[in-house]
Symmetry: C2
């Protein structure tokens, strides 16, 4: 099998504008990748190639006429299959919802169509975007998991079938698969992207983007939020219409998180080498041993996984209870276990958990006074062998709990397989995170100026 | 036509426990009201009498065995037709959704079934719980509107077909129909009752209760929140399992709101008489002329309607845009107008509007230091003649904007028709609002002790 290679749309858009490429030609290159990789990878639940070609042709006409609807006009996209689409079923990775059609687009999908994007298909999610895998394989090694729950999103982007796909993350469902598959993952600040029409009812969950490049991730996200806003009650992702230019950080905090203890030695070494490289470039790097403020954050997030499990269990009681009442046999054991956890909780337990979460947010926010961003691993190692689990989200859950924007950048490797460098920002400062991410990428790839 | 009279469940529950009544007998009395009133009123979209009888019989067995699931075990209920039910369609008052079944219960409905309640049917909502009426008539006068958007909820409760029904309010959709039909209306604090499975995506909207009595309203609300919690990220309605006993307020603030200028003279006189009566009972009453802090709140909410219209337009852009794309001819002109408003807004406009709302919340919250609650009218007068409009929500929108709990109590009248006295509490203090509401009721009915 060819080594997977994402295909970014952003520079191609310049070619469309100049007449050197067309969205239809771009789509055909994606479809060639679909033919090459999809049989082994299984990233898609369904796709509509004819509709995509029609949409790409319309986009081609708009670019030719000098009137593209947006910088992502013509960009082929995959949509995680918990997000509604008017023209395709939304199955949520559950046998309860096979063929289920709602006849409407989610807010994000409606915005993407308004921006001229080409919806190629629905990509595989684990059951209800939780833990039960649904068969997608890692494009780098078909014996390994692609991660989850945005399994199909990561796999489809990693092998160039689409330059970007929508994902969602409440624990580690964007950053972990991005790390395992070698693409960019972006989870926005809580509330940043309107989740209307996504079967996603968790208070710390976000719709985000898996993409071939930082630029594509930004363009997809900002083109949604401009048209559809954030979650109700949130101002939504703010920032420039173009990808934020690199902004070199002065100081970065290292968070080990609870993940450091279980990280593979090779992953630790890869991260330490990255931190050393950034330090060598003159960026101040500090960790828990150097700064008590960082130690305080480490303490506040040390049980991020347990706290998130409690919060999600309570918030997920419905609709799991009504699904169980409908047909218990169609729920995974893990779903039934989550429901059992919820059914012994009280609203007071939940109230205590969200109060602890709020405290962790306040403690983390104090880092903004001294650091431009936080760095850590995006996963404890390369994608593990086996399709029965989507891997360990331990490095991802802190950003989910704390509600801050986070990126997984495909800049590290372990055993010849991709590994993400995670960069976490501060709430509401998503554009700044992209600017810092771009600078980190330049330093790591040796393309930084001067 | 007989004068409509609600039937409360709460005292009947004591009879069930003592063996003097049964939930099945209670239901049969409700069904007699259904037969009597429903043909002229049109409160229901659909009902399932056979299923209700089966559920009531099961409840009867539980009470006989001394093992009711809750104090509302056996209570017949109507569910506003934007809230999903597993066994009945959810049509949202829209021709786009005729017969639409999702196969699941909303979080609130699942909780009510767990508590043993009997779901009699779906009650009429205006189109998408907005302004376009769907034919329900006021049980007091079939030429008059019952109010909306929870039109069927109020009408069904007012004539005793059910002791309570779920409603929702983002502008004035619970308190106004409660006022027009002469029942109790309760809109909780923002986030108080889990809206999962309700087609309701507005940040200041709430699921609440229309009921025959304060006690029934509390029991329905607390039995939902205990089992299903609040909206994700909110602790949910807190309070005792039994209806809060009356707590006599020391001081009440009068808010005229923008409604005072348009209120009918008879409604003004009814309110002034009520305020005088409460003052005569030794409760301190102050208004904008007496206290600059109240004047500041009046200023902050003077354009509550305009601000809410902006916020709701942006938040309602989706899903209206995808409904329009599906079949424009099936949307009302008012829905298309809201969408047009949204489509010229930017996320910056929305951000400014929610910042103003937040400011109004902070200013209003300061009243808690000096007043136990706020009182005002629940509507500018009795239900107006005509079925083409659901009436003016001007007195209801402040509580919606400010996010506080509010009650409409059927204690006033105008022209022989019902008119609500509104009591507004402070955010998160819903139980205390009920205690004060019970005391206000006692004073007004002359049943207060000593």
């Amino acid at each position: 099998m060819t080594i997977p290679q994402p295909i970014a749309f952003f520079p191609a858009a310049a070619d469309h504008a100049a007449g050197n490429d067309t969205p239809r030609d771009f789509l055909e290159r994606c479809l060639a990748r679909l033919e090459e990789f999809e049989p082994a990878v299984g990233a898609f639940v369904c796709h509509d190639i004819a509709a995509a070609r029609t949409a790409a042709d319309r986009s081609t006409e708009r670019w030719r006429g000098g009137r593209p609807l947006s910088p992502i006009d013509g960009m082929p996209l995959g949509i995680k299959d918990i997000i509604e689409t008017a023209d395709m079923p939304t199955e949520q990775g559950s046998p309860l919802f096979v063929g289920c059609r709602t006849g409407r687009d989610a807010a994000s999908v409606a915005a993407l169509r308004e921006a001229g994007a080409v919806i190629l298909g629905k990509v595989v999610t684990t059951e209800f975007a939780a833990t039960e895998p649904r068969g997608t394989r890692n494009p780098w090694d078909s014996e390994r998991t692609p991660g989850g729950s945005s399994s199909g999103s990561a796999a489809a982007v990693a092998c160039g079938i689409v330059p970007a796909a929508l994902g969602t993350q409440v624990v580690g469902s964007i950053l972990r698969p991005a790390s395992f598959c070698g693409c960019v993952g972006f989870k926005p600040s809580v509330g940043g992207i309107n989740r209307g029409g996504s079967y996603d009812y968790f208070s710390q969950s976000c719709t985000g983007v898996l993409a071939a490049s930082l630029e594509d991730a930004w363009l997809v996200a900002i083109n949604i939020s401009t048209r559809a806003g954030g979650d109700p009650g949130y101002p939504g992702l703010q920032g420039p219409p173009d990808p934020p230019p690199a902004h070199r950080p002065r100081a970065l905090a290292v968070l080990q998180t609870a993940g450091w203890e279980v990280a593979a030695p090779e992953a630790r070494r890869a991260f330490e080498a990255a931190a050393a490289r950034l330090a060598g470039a003159g960026i101040a790097i500090a960790d828990r041993h150097a700064d008590p403020a960082i130690e305080e954050v480490e303490d506040a997030i040390c049980d991020a996984a347990g706290l998130t499990r409690q919060i999600n269990a309570w918030e997920g009681r419905w609709p799991l209870n009504t699904y169980r009442n409908r047909d218990r046999s169609k729920l995974s054991q893990s779903a039934l276990d989550r429901l059992a956890t919820a059914e012994v909780m009280t609203s007071a337990d939940y109230g205590a958990a969200i109060a602890l979460r709020q405290r962790s947010r306040e403690i983390h926010a104090r880092l903004a006074a001294r650091y431009d961003a936080v760095i850590t691993l995006a996963a404890p190692g390369a994608a593990p062998v086996g399709l029965g689990s989507t891997g360990n989200p331990i490095f991802n859950v802190p950003a989910s709990l704390v509600g801050v924007p986070a990126l997984s950048l495909p800049l590290l490797s372990a055993g010849g397989l991709p590994l993400g460098l995670q960069v976490m920002g501060f709430a509401g400062e998503d554009a700044r995170l992209f600017a810092i991410g771009a600078a980190v990428r330049s330093e790591m790839l040796g393309t930084a100026p001067g």
